[in-house]
């Protein structure tokens, strides 16, 4: 097995990032938006770990990645609670239905 180097990791992470942004921008479903966020965060994690591995930077990157994973889980938990509550009132998770407030 030959070592592939840093660049392929960065490319995969960038693809994840773009997928996540597109997902957030196009999905009308609150859970779908959340999945987009997770994709971006995972792209960032991949970056952090690849930099940590190939940049002689020690364990700092991996430590940040761990905090990012845990915070993503905490956000997902809050998200489930909020979306569930939204569903109870609106009977949908379509965020376009949230348009009562405007000028």
């Amino acid at each position: 097995m030959s070592d592939v180097g840093l660049t392929p990791y960065l490319i995969v992470a960038a693809v994840l990032f773009v997928c996540g942004i597109v997902c957030m921008a196009t999905k009308r479903n609150a859970i779908g938006v959340l999945m987009g966020v997770e994709l971006v965060l995972n792209g960032a994690n991949l970056n952090l770990i690849a930099f940590s591995r190939y940049g002689q930077l020690g364990f700092d990157g991996q430590a940040i990645a761990m905090f990012v994973i845990v915070l993503a889980a905490a956000e997902a938990a809050v998200a489930l609670a909020i979306v569930l509550n939204f569903y109870n009132n609106h009977l949908t998770v379509d965020v376009d239905q949230a348009r009562q407030l405007n000028s």
Binding site: L10, F17, G20, M24, A30, V33, L34, V37, V40, L41, G43, A44, N45, N47, L48, A50, F51, G55, L57, D60, G61, A63, I64, F67, V68, L71, A74, E75, V78, A79, A81, I82, V83, N85, F86, N89, H90, V95, A98, R99, Q100, L101, N102, S103
Partner: protein
Amino acid sequence: MSHESIRTAVQLILPECILIGTVCVMFLTGPFLLGRNGQASPGLRHRWGALALLAIGAAAWQWWHTTPVAAIDGPFLSDGLSFTIRGIVLALGAVLVLAAWNQLDDRTSAECNACLLALLAGVNLTAAANDIITLFLGLELVSIPTYLLLYLPTRSRPAQEATIKYFLLSLFSSAMLVYGLALLYGATGTTMLPEIVELLKATSLTESPLLLIAAPLIAAGLGFRITAVPFHFYAPDVFQGVPAFMAALLSFIPKVVGFTALWRLTALTSRAAAESADAVSTYMASVLAVLAVLTMFIGNLMALRQSNLHRLLAYSSVAHGGYMLVGLLAGGGSSGVPGGAALLFYLAAYGFMTIGAFCILLAARRSGDSIRTIDELAGLGSSQPLAALVLSVFLFSLAGLPPTAGFLGKFNLFLAAWSSGVSGTRWLAVILAMNAAISAWYYLRLIGVMYLQSPQPSTADAPTRNLPAWIATAVCVAGTLGLFLVPQAVWDAALLATQ
């Protein structure tokens, strides 16, 4: 790493440890004080509010006994910036607890007060961060309790809509910020903020394409928090939907964290300007300058045509974000009034006047949970003269007229931008003055409505007096006038941060 370094690191964040410890106590004992089927005895919220104030008092006592020291090698630092930000945040955090006091349900008040304290600890941690990890953790420790505070107090449809809007956009911005920070880490090869700042000044854009991508992502992530213009559109909707104390919180707390993080990441306010014209920090400064101009104009022009007070104050908060960005940008200068000090002074003044404005709307309500439309203000001058006078003080301050803190704050920002010697900031100073004039129109119009129009006949009974909200208002009036009459102490603290 040794015992010694761990002990110093913990000592640097003792005020935050007190706050977080109280949060744990609240979450632990909160559910045990509820009766069967989750009902609370009436008046339980007074106990939780008092405990929260006590914790803030203890943290403030601890804060007062710290002495700012120069940068050290570790995850936290306690320099002039974190000292000043901590003071501002603890003082206004106590005001927010008072404002929230009677808007909270007895049943959920333990959780809400705990979230408020956690959020204050998060702001302070961001200010004390010396490292990307602690900076990011501090920012998230502000965001997550904010979601909970949006979600817990009311379950009405508008509040839920505001919650889900704020939540999804905030997640989006956090994700961008994390990706930007990851690239920043890769490009600079360190997590320590002082080293990153040095590298950003020395590196030119052509050397590191990663930074070219990282800078806009970070600007977007933090721009959401300071409501800079392309990322401001959530503010009016969210402010309209949430209770008044949450609107007060959202207009102030995210701005403090956003500006603190920007300061730490760019250090535009340090006295030494960027060395070369194509350095990354110069590039970031020009991006931020464009954002500042757009933010001031769009915030003020949109505020002109609002009839809902929460929406009006939301656009006003957008515009004030723009003014403060001018201060941040002027900080790179080498002479005259330091822009960073002007920014910090303005943050304190802005906190007192915007939170005060929401508090008096809350305290002077005649029906519902607070005054929400301009029509409800009509004739306030004759029906509730004290409330009208107090609101006028805050509106004068927001418009930047003497004798209030807002005047001195705007004057400092203008001087800082005019005298900084950095190219382009003189234009920013001129635009700042123009916008202050535009904004005076809609603030003074409200005073006109209060004193010149006749009151609407009120059918609802006068609600019970909201004493904590009045105390909060009194503190804010004292702050708004006090920062004009005796500004020296706060100004000295702000100057300390720029050294």
